[in-house]
Subunit: 377 residues, 2 copies
């Protein structure tokens, strides 16, 4: 299901087959946490060259609930997107959003961040939810410990994450009357990815990777990075983890990151990314451009009648000036969120397109240098 | 510049020529107060059959300022809309938004609702601002007294409004070296409309209309309605005012209203409308449909997999269910505002399209009855 087409040094260009179409790697997934991208319709993601939307198991479980989504005909139909969907398991959200929680061997008990209702999530339940949502790529339930946690805690946490991963895989592969029970769309069953944890300890990362590979997954994610540690440390963790991952499976760096982070990770052999940066920053007036970040709020843009990014040909850059977008941002208009988001997504998806092209032409290193030379972060 | 094509009883179907194209009447103007429709791009207004966008002189004067907009190449270019634009004078906003104000013979002194800065607006300044914005239809500065004000106050207020209207017209028609100074686009100078006031007093309404007609305007607006009075009283005011307005000029009922209000007013011979209802209500989850208002928040829509309006073929109704839109509304997603707004605007513009068709076929009364029979308000 993963086909490695080409490499440029250790950067990889491939194809990932899913029930809702083939995805060209490396790719960036636009975040639509609750089954909606903040301000954009899925048709616009398609128009911008987006291939995959990421949604969140934890959020959708709380609201509107997987049973409702199943009744609606699945998440694709519910949100009007017929391309591939990956759902994060929600492990990260449970550990970052919910205050009181109890980790048990069985699963995790926590309070809903919406209404405080007590909820118990097991690895099995987590897979069942994702199956009901009908997504293309499911993630295992994991514990994402703080990067400042002590080694003892991370060791214990890793044991749990591995055990949960095993249970997720068992549940996802369960058979009934000798046949695989997992739902299939277009003859393809959903992929299940394991998540490598281990904090900032190279040996624990290695251990985690090996344990997951032994269980066997359709792809391997690296979790617990970009959680407050330095870029240098993040790259070190990638350097120590990636060599332990199989070459014939897709590699997903979760929740990362800035354009620089993405380039560094692609260079190290990562195939998949997701991040709230382009969408969230857009709403705060942080615009990604080929020349670096434009902070729209600044009064210097009051009478700047040039587009956000001279090298971008998206709808926003073709039709609006910084002066107008500055005005909308200052006035707190909803349209500001929408247009800024549209451009930022265009920028990220365009970056990925250029990355894929550069790898195909075996010029990734040159592309990266050229990009970072202009991009002042 | 106004061409009356057809009547159906007293309902009128015509064409209003402007520098940015002909407008088919009766029409509804989507509100874009600060030079932006809340959540939508002008291209979408066009796609939905919208002909005119309304913006606000007061708001644009405060931010970003008419000089900036002029430097940007005018409001059309600034906001990316090449169709006609009407700007409300801001009189209404000054009297409803700003706390402390002093009305002087010269003009009105008030404090900006944004930063409290003291601002003095004269009739001449008001026209100058609109000329700098480069709009197609300008409105005179008027005073809009509370409908509960006593007759003495309204009489005095009306004197001022008439005097200001005269000064607006004088300023707009001013000549330099024997030539009209007003800016022209495509050989057409902007239209200037007078605003009939007079509170809820038929004789003052009549007096106001006659005074304005004596001054002479390109069109006549009826202001100070839909400000808290009953529908019955509003219709009575229309009944007593409209007969005093010239047949060969467009008639604009400002800030009105619900679908019922629009039908009643068209029946009485009104040609132009604007209102925040479709956009503002959308954000509060009040959806206009052929069967009446749908309050999206209601839990009955949680698992309603039908479109907002079975008779609507807009993008939202074609691609999304009430269940999904209910979910977005409950989750407070920006996309909720956008999709609800899109549908509500589609509904209003479609209503106007059907009204125009019904008048053309001389079936307006039947259309109105049929519409209101289904529309449960």
């Amino acid at each position: 299901m993963f086909n490695l087409l080409k490499t440029s040094s250790t950067a990889r260009r491939g194809t990932l087959k899913t029930a809702h179409g083939d995805i060209q790697t490396p790719f960036f997934m636009t975040v639509g946490t609750v089954g909606a991208i903040k301000g954009l319709v899925p048709d616009e993601i398609r128009e911008l060259g987006g291939q995959v939307i990421l949604s969140n198991t934890y959020h959708l479980h709380l609201r509107p609930g997987e049973d409702l989504v199943e009744k609606a005909g699945g998440l694709h139909k519910f949100m009007n997107w017929d391309g591939p969907i990956l759902t994060d398991s929600g492990g990260y959200q449970i550990f970052s959003l919910t205050g009181i929680r109890k980790i048990k061997d069985d699963g995790v008990e926590f309070k809903s961040h919406i209404d405080g209702k007590k909820i118990f999530l097991t690895p099995e339940k987590c897979i069942e939810i994702q199956q009901k949502l009908g997504v293309d790529i499911m993630m295992c339930l994991d514990e994402c410990p703080a990067h400042t946690a002590d080694r003892r805690y991370i060791e214990k946490s890793l044991e749990l994450t591995t055990e949960w991963a095993r249970r997720c895989q068992t549940f996802a592969s369960r058979k009934r009357n000798g046949r695989i029970f997992a739902p299939q769309t277009n003859g393809v069953k959903p992929h299940l990815f394991g998540i490598v944890q281990g904090g900032m300890h190279p040996d624990l990362r290695e251990k985690s990777a090996k344990q997951l590979i032994e269980i066997g997954f359709d792809g391997y994610a690296i979790g617990g990075l970009s959680v407050g540690e330095s870029n240098k440390l993040m790259y070190e963790m990638l350097d120590t983890t990636i060599p332990h991952l199989p070459k014939d499976k897709p590699r997903y760096l979760m929740g990362v990151g800035t354009p620089e982070n993405i380039l560094e990770a692609v260079e190290r052999g990562i195939d998949m990314f997701d991040c709230v940066l382009p969408t969230r920053n857009a709403r705060h007036g942080y615009i990604f451009t080929s020349q670096g970040i434009v902070r729209l709020k600044k009064s210097e843009f009051k009478d700047d009648f040039t587009p956000l990014d001279p090298e971008c040909d998206c709808y926003v850059c073709k039709n609006y000036t910084k002066a107008y977008l500055h005005h909308l941002f200052r006035a707190g208009e909803i349209l500001s969120h929408r247009l800024n988001t549209y451009h930022n997504i265009a920028f990220y998806l365009n970056l990925m397109k250029n990355i894929r092209k550069a790898i195909e032409e075996d010029k990734f290193a040159e592309f990266k240098d050229e990009f970072l030379r202009k991009y002042v972060s």
